[in-house]
Symmetry: C2
């Protein structure tokens, strides 16, 4: 079955209630505001048979809780800034902050004699960093996105002929939720490395492939090297159905075809590198998908029996959602399987099953967006709350929460960082709010000296950022939190330094 | 046998003739100068029985030829600058250059209206870069340092229980000749990665170890994974017997003990990282050596039967040279073997044979230095001809030819580069000569896009250097040659750009 690129009309029933989502320039809501939204269980007739409404509810509660925290900062701050500077000022400010954010403000900033705008920028940054820190603490201690019990993804993956799923989405914040939300996969069992425009580093990927092969040989992990499974490399490009010419992938000039074809070329380059670097028939499997950042629906470019991918040959999950909506689960599954095979009759059975599974999973996410946000997300464009740069950020599994610049050095990632600063110049600086940047380097605690190197990386990168964006720094509109984390343990972050006040270590307030 | 750290007195006969070696501030000699030097064959009675005088002669001819080329540039240039600027100027200048350097000068610089010092800096840089280019061409096409026929190092290595020898010397130019000269090993069969202070990157080394293991499993290269051989990681620190408190390792404050102990800690860290990262008893073998940069003699810290290294337990090759000097080859070999075993009675037989071999090889180098340079090299300190930075430089196997900053970004290697600039401020800038920098990134031609990435790396690093050392750039005292090379092929360099004149591609003159 050939699916055209033309978007078919969407589900007609508009969703009445919308959840609070910050738009650029808009303010968030207060903790005690009540926004009505329709619960999925109240309209069972419209729910797709393959949709997991329990998972949807849980994922939405989490998304709402996290984003609300960040979005309450600005209005809270405005209230504080509007307070009369009398003897009660500090007490009142603390009371407002604790009521609305759940934590107090650093006394030395409140009692500081700095001008109003610098003070506001410092308080805003401090609140963003503290919210981020608490969010991380929650993520690593409570595991709020744990996959459902019994969902043994690794066994399923191997039964499809793959021993590792490695996906590169674009680094755009609107794709940060791709694993646990869009594809409904357990984030701990999928390798994710984001790059601007999904243009992943082929050398780095070959190294990872080598490491995985070595572990299969040495430790039979995740399976023995003689098991006939392969490394599955996926690329997820993206586009916008609401505003295709402006809100697509910035790295490819919002040109969907260009984004898809660049992703495919990178995948083919990686396969060629593996095949050319090693003899003995070493190779990998490839899969290209495209995500509509407005609906979270996806296109899967189904590979043929030779593993070849065609940009014009794909199945569209939104079309399948509509086509299967009135059917029971068994029939819906059959229609999905048929659609995949119709796309490439000679597709390998394992790949076919894998694709059918991620399409089925994605139907829950389509339902999620439609139910909680309407025909499309209200935040079509960038609406990130802060910039993250460095290596790590496993906890970022939410859409439009963080602009991510994966980097080892500012020198190499200057273009990506410039884009981030430009985005936040619109989102924040234009409203006299600072650009909050988290510099983060995760490390492997079992490698001697790794922690010390991560600390040195943080310091170097923070210094380079300050040098590059000296104007913002001078205006007090650039603040940096330096953190590291041992990525093997379930430990939370270790805060190294915070430009808001170098004396304020997290938790000391 | 415990050998003390005290230096014993050296061979008493001073070598009459010295070869032309540039010292900081000194000028080189002209091509037609004749400097008498004593041929090794004329004093056979003093030659050590284990010394390979044929190899010595060949290595010395090569060293002299290459360094002479670079050292003729400055006096040639002075002659040219002293010429009257009349109608014959260009013809005379070209004639002098061709006679002394073997190549002409770029006409557009000679005919340029720039001031004398800028012109001189450009001409000097151009000559250095052109000499470097020709030197590389010669190296990759003629293989001037090819190991002697029948020297099957890989078999020997495996017979000692190792499948790869990986050595990290300090990046100091006075150790650049360590493989082919100091240790007399074939440079193509030894992995060398230099770092300031020999402080190699443990993460990078673990990656390399993984790659080597994978190739053994996948391709039985260099041997099958079930062969009981191990990865041998060596560190070479250095010290100066002539001026120990000033001309030792700058990265360790000329403190020999500190340099040795830091090297040992890094080795142990690497082993720990391998052991902790992988189960199944994965481990590596370690060896620490120290080089006296004045005599090229070395200390080998002989590991005991458990592979443990003690900073105070080593054999000194200069002591062994003297001890065995009057003996025949068989007896000398026996004494070396005895000395190694006396240092660690339970040493593994393979490690013992390996150490004995490199000590025996080093005796030729001790003889080399004594014969051609006297009791010590005349250039005790830095006397490099140019700075090289980036990844590559396999052809640099000569002492004090190039100051090497191994780097991917200027941001990460700023400290190393600053040291290089400081050295050349003394060597060159103080005499109105520019700092010539070769920016080089080698790539694997079989990896798609690798060449393009190398080109991008060169441009980015050149720009970052120009930004960091803007003062020198403004004065016309900083020049950069950008080159890349496919490191698999025996191809020569590909010149990308030269700041002397962006229009002058190599060979177009």
């Amino acid at each position: 079955m050939f699916m055209s690129q033309r978007r078919q009309s969407r589900r007609k029933q508009p969703i009445v209630a919308t959840a609070p989502m910050r738009r650029p320039g808009a303010v968030g809501i207060e903790a005690d505001s009540h926004v009505a939204f329709k619960d999925a269980s109240s309209s069972p007739s419209t729910v797709h048979a393959l949709c997991d409404t329990t998972d949807n509810q849980r994922l939405f509660d989490y998304e709402k809780r996290v984003k609300d925290t960040f979005d309450r900062i600005e209005p809270m701050l405005q209230q504080v800034m509007d307070l009369p500077r009398d003897a009660n000022f500090e007490a009142q400010a603390q009371s407002i902050a604790k009521r609305q954010l759940g934590f107090g403000l650093p006394e030395n900033i409140l009692g500081d004699s700095s001008t109003g705008s610098t003070e506001k920028a410092r308080l805003f940054s401090w609140c963003v960093f503290e919210s981020y820190r608490k969010f991380c603490e929650d993520f690593f201690s409570e595991d709020p996105l744990a996959a459902r019990a019994g969902d043994d993804f690794q066994s399923f993956l191997q039964s499809c002929g793959f021993h590792l799923m490695d996906i590169t989405p674009c680094a755009d914040g609107r794709l940060a939720h791709i694993i646990r939300y869009v594809l409904r996969l357990p984030q701990r069992h999928v390798r994710r490395k984001s790059f601007a425009g999904a243009m992943f580093d082929i050398d780095d990927s070959v190294q990872k492939w080598v490491e995985v092969e070595m572990l299969r040989h040495h430790e039979a992990s995740p399976n023995a090297a003689d098991e006939p499974t392969r490394y599955l490399k996926m690329v997820a490009y993206h586009f916008s159905s609401v505003d295709p010419h402006h809100e697509g992938c910035a790295a490819h000039g919002s040109d969907t075809r260009k984004a898809a074809s660049a992703g495919l070329a990178q995948l083919q380059g990686f396969r060629e590198a593996v095949e050319n670097s090693f003899c003995c028939g070493a190779s990998i499997d490839l899969l290209l998908i495209g995500i509509d950042t407005d609906t979270d629906a996806m296109r899967v470019h189904v590979p043929d029996g030779n593993g070849e991918i065609d940009l014009d040959r794909f199945v569209d999950s939104l079309e399948l959602f509509q086509m299967t909506q009135q059917h029971d689960a068994a029939k819906a599954r059959q229609l999905i399987a048929d659609a995949v095979v119709a796309c490439a009759a000679d597709i390998a059975a394992g790949m076919q099953r894998f694709i059918a599974r991620i399409i089925e999973n994605n139907l829950s996410q389509i339902e999620y967006v439609q139910h909680y946000y309407g025909q499309a997300y209200p935040d079509t464009g960038h609406a990130e709350r802060f910039i993250g740069c460095g290596v790590g950020f496993e906890e970022i599994q939410l859409r439009n929460l963080m602009y991510f610049a994966y980097l080892n050095t500012v020198e190499e990632a200057a273009a990506d960082l410039d884009v981030g600063i430009k985005i936040f110049s619109g989102l924040n600086v234009s409203r006299d709010l600072p650009v909050p940047i988290v510099v983060r380097f995760d490390y492997h605690g079992h490698v001697p000296g790794a922690r010390e190197r991560s600390i040195a990386h943080c310091r170097r990168v923070a210094e380079a950022i300050n040098n590059r964006y000296g104007d913002l720094l001078q205006q007090g509109l650039l603040h940096i939190l330096q953190v590291i984390r041992d990525c093997r343990a379930d430990a939370s972050l270790e805060v190294l330094q915070c430009s808001v006040n170098d004396q304020i270590a997290a938790g000391v307030h």
